[in-house]
Subunit: 311 residues, 2 copies
């Protein structure tokens, strides 16, 4: 069994759920995560470790992590905004921490009420913490608003790259780039990931693209062609950033996996089983809109999935 | 004033309308075409010359053409399925004829009740006809189901390329490739357009992509990177092929133009005016769904369009 060509990092249970009003029951979350795992998904952002009073949806974060880490071969990721969240996530047993660090000064203050410099220090504190108590745990910095910001408009590319390098210097294992508000275009995606790789080499992380203006998959394609091999996406396109006005639409996992598999790029994910994983999602969030063009249109006649055999 | 980098060929008034049940009034069509022209669109497929009893929507084809050819700088295109249609289109004064030629044997029979070989002979007859009576008129063969077919599944690439070459040998000035049913993926798009260019050189024509599985823009990007410079799309995503079961969704012109302009690839089209051209479309087809993510999300804050100055 060879390993897949790309890693699809499913963010629905955290990024997706965070923007949904109804609280999903813990049992439903676990069924959904199990179905994603059964489809071959090998990295899931399962929760956010934030105070339950701020985000009741994530009150069961530790329970969700404790279940997810029992699934063989799965990298269990959690978002942590600060050291306190990181302590709780590490105690629950996560394999990987992700920290959002805004490249836009305005978005950083609006989203986490901290400056970018303060966030880099937070990355350092969390990196030191996990080295002390769980040195095998990985730390990713997700550079949000890396392609533009609804609050301040343009975000200078130099600042994006410098911030990513600062996060790595502060101890992050990876820094990825997020198109939080759907402003990115393929030329910009190529340019920024090329610069990122030049600047931080193997520490260059995931492409987290949104489909707000329909360019999500084109941007993923551009990132892939620039050497990116990890892609964040959300089953059914659930989610978006609630603090970026006008932002919406994570890339739909089903469409992203279809694109790669159709190209012969192996994801390790079985598309039929992935589409079946929509059922527990919909059952757990009755009435919530779930997107995806491939699930609606169905797979092409006679479609053979090279990746399916690797599940 | 420099010329644009790519040509966006708007197919809504023909391809789009053909799949709509309500008949659009001639005056509404003209207002819509005027608005597209005012936005900087420089090629429009305005009508199909088919018997009015088969397609009442196109009964006014000659009137629409006679108006469209008064708009300065506009290339007025019409679809013709056969010699009789070509005679009527030439009499009305079109600048360019387009003929659909299916690469799928099954689709060819279902769509026009002719074999592929018969369609190549039709291309030859029409090419000869226009050389006799209007030698300045261009003829394009649109190779449909070039990336797969809902009826027969896989369409061998050799057959697609051979058919395109046969059409050019029969007199077509260009042969483009159409993803009639939305099966294409970016790797296949690159491969086929590369082969097409190798085979027929400057006669390689437009990319006509559908968004059925969400890959429309990614496929246009792949075609662009392979050297394609003409792209078919439909305002508001109107249209699809009524004879290909499960087919839907032309690439949305607004999103396509946004992608290119954001990349710095000039289309010559003003995005604000293009979005305004949705109004006459919607007024002329009350209740008809009109798509597009960029119109819904709006342009990015501070978005500057290099192409707009060329309108």
């Amino acid at each position: 069994m060879t390993s897949p060509d790309v890693l699809i990092s499913e963010v629905g249970p955290r990024d997706g759920l965070q923007s949904v009003k109804a609280t999903m029951a813990t049992a439903d979350k676990l069924r959904w995560i199990d179905a994603l795992h059964a489809a071959g998904v090998r990295e899931i952002e399962v929760a956010s470790f934030v105070p339950a009073r701020l985000l009741p949806q994530m009150a069961d974060a530790a329970d969700v992590v404790r279940h997810a880490i029992t699934l063989p071969g799965l990298t269990v990721m959690a978002l942590v905004p600060n050291r306190r969240g990181a302590e709780a996530a590490l105690a629950a047993g996560v394999h990987k921490l992700t920290m959002p660090v805004s490249a836009s000064a305005a978005h950083s203050l609006a989203n986490v009420r901290k400056t970018r410099e303060e966030m880099v220090e937070e990355v350092r504190a969390i990196s030191d913490l996990r080295r002390d108590i769980a040195p095998h745990v990985k730390l990713e910095a997700g550079i949000s608003t890396a392609f533009g910001c609804t609050l301040q408009g343009d975000v200078p590319e130099d600042e994006v790259i410098r911030l990513a390098a600062q996060c790595v210097a502060a101890g992050a294992d990876e820094a990825g780039l997020s198109d939080t508000v759907g402003y990115a275009n393929p030329a910009q995606v190529r340019r920024l990931f090329k610069r990122l790789r030049t600047e931080i080499g193997v520490h260059a992380g995931a492409a987290h693209m949104h489909n707000t203006r329909g360019l999500g998959l084109a941007n993923c394609l551009a990132a892939y062609e620039e050497g990116v091999r990890t892609f964040d996406s959300s089953l059914g396109g659930l989610g978006g950033c609630p603090y970026a006005p006008g932002a919406s639409g994570n890339v739909v996992t089903e469409d992203l996996v279809f694109m790669f598999e159709a190209m012969g790029v192996r994801t390790g994910i079985d598309l039929e089983k992935l589409m079946a994983a929509r059922l527990p999602l919909m059952a757990g969030l009755p009435g919530e809109p779930v997107y995806g063009m491939t699930p609606e249109a169905g797979l092409p006649k006679g479609f053979a999935q090279p990746g399916a055999m690797h599940v």
